[in-house]
């Protein structure tokens, strides 16, 4: 059975995504940090493929992810690791180079993996420079913010459609 994906906006500048996985924490960490495994699930929208996955996951190390899509479309993001504590926590700056958000927009992304024995609880916290930056990133549909920052909007939409 699929575990529920939960998205909240605890503060004006944050988006928080949580989901549980039916696997021990070490395996989830591996799947989220090893390029050959990342490429298998961070594939982008349907019809896209992750073509570049460079990872130097240590403090000060960089990463670069890029995707190609139909008709030569491309998107990429890169950034720098601030904190890497396998298998529980990683903090990095993510910058959208092109294609998946406002160009040059930056966010501080924190990944926390909580060890629940046979399962693992994932929490991704995205912190933006301002509320406007968060809302703009979410509205433009970049990968992490996608579907995300809009629970308040969801309320409006639901109210509007009653």
């Amino acid at each position: 059975m699929r575990n529920a994906l939960k998205v909240t906006t605890p503060t004006d500048r944050e988006i928080v995504v949580t989901r549980r996985f039916n696997a021990p924490r070490e395996l989830v960490w591996d799947a989220m940090s090893r390029p050959e495994l990342l490429k298998r699930w961070v594939t982008g929208p349907p019809g896209w493929e992750m073509t570049v996955c460079e990872e130097d996951a240590r403090v000060g190390g960089t990463f670069r992810w890029a995707w190609t899509g139909p008709d030569g479309a491309a998107m990429s993001m890169s950034g720098v690791y601030h904190e890497v504590t396998p298998p529980e926590r990683c903090v990095r700056i993510e910058r959208f180079d092109f294609g998946c958000g406002p160009a040059g927009a930056e966010q501080l992304a924190t990944l926390d993996l909580a060890d629940m024995g046979e399962t693992t609880e994932l929490t991704i916290t995205l912190l933006y420079s301002s509320k406007e930056a968060r809302d703009g990133a979410a509205a433009s549909g970049m990968e992490h913010g996608m579907a995300a920052g809009y629970d308040r909007l969801d309320e409006i939409l639901q109210a509007a459609m009653v």
């Binding site: 575990n3 696997a23 395996l27 799947a31 809302d135 509205a139 996608m146 509007a160």
Partner: protein, 114 residues
């Protein structure tokens, strides 16, 4: 994807005051005057926001020349919601693929258990 109109919708929705105005209008139509007091903004400021919302097709204005009551227009919002829902699905699709990958990794690690 109907990008041009969606761009206008999202540009209009990117502003917190405009979202708040929509939330207010979701409860029922209101005139500019009625919108001024809860938002503590000047009438010209409110009018400016209303113009953006109207241009994005998110609200309609009544014909009464004096009051021109504002009403929420549900259709573009439904379209925007559909668009957001598409992206939520992409997130979910990613995590579903991760589920499968994790099952595979588990099986590889503990072949006797699976």
């Amino acid at each position: 994807m109907m990008t041009a109109s969606l761009d206008a919708t999202f540009a209009a929705l990117a502003d917190p005051t405009r979202r708040a105005i929509l939330a207010r209008l979701a409860q029922g139509e209101a005139t500019v005057t009625e919108l001024v007091s809860p938002f503590q903004l000047s009438q010209p400021a409110i009018s400016k926001h209303l113009k953006v919302l109207e241009k994005a097709g998110l609200i309609t204005r009544g014909k009464d020349a004096q009051k021109r009551p504002c009403r929420i227009a549900a259709e573009p919002l439904a379209e925007a919601n559909e668009w957001l829902e598409d992206y939520r699905k992409i997130w979910e699709a990613h995590f579903d693929r991760l589920d499968s990958l994790l099952d595979e990794l588990k099986a590889r690690k503990n072949p006797e258990k699976s």
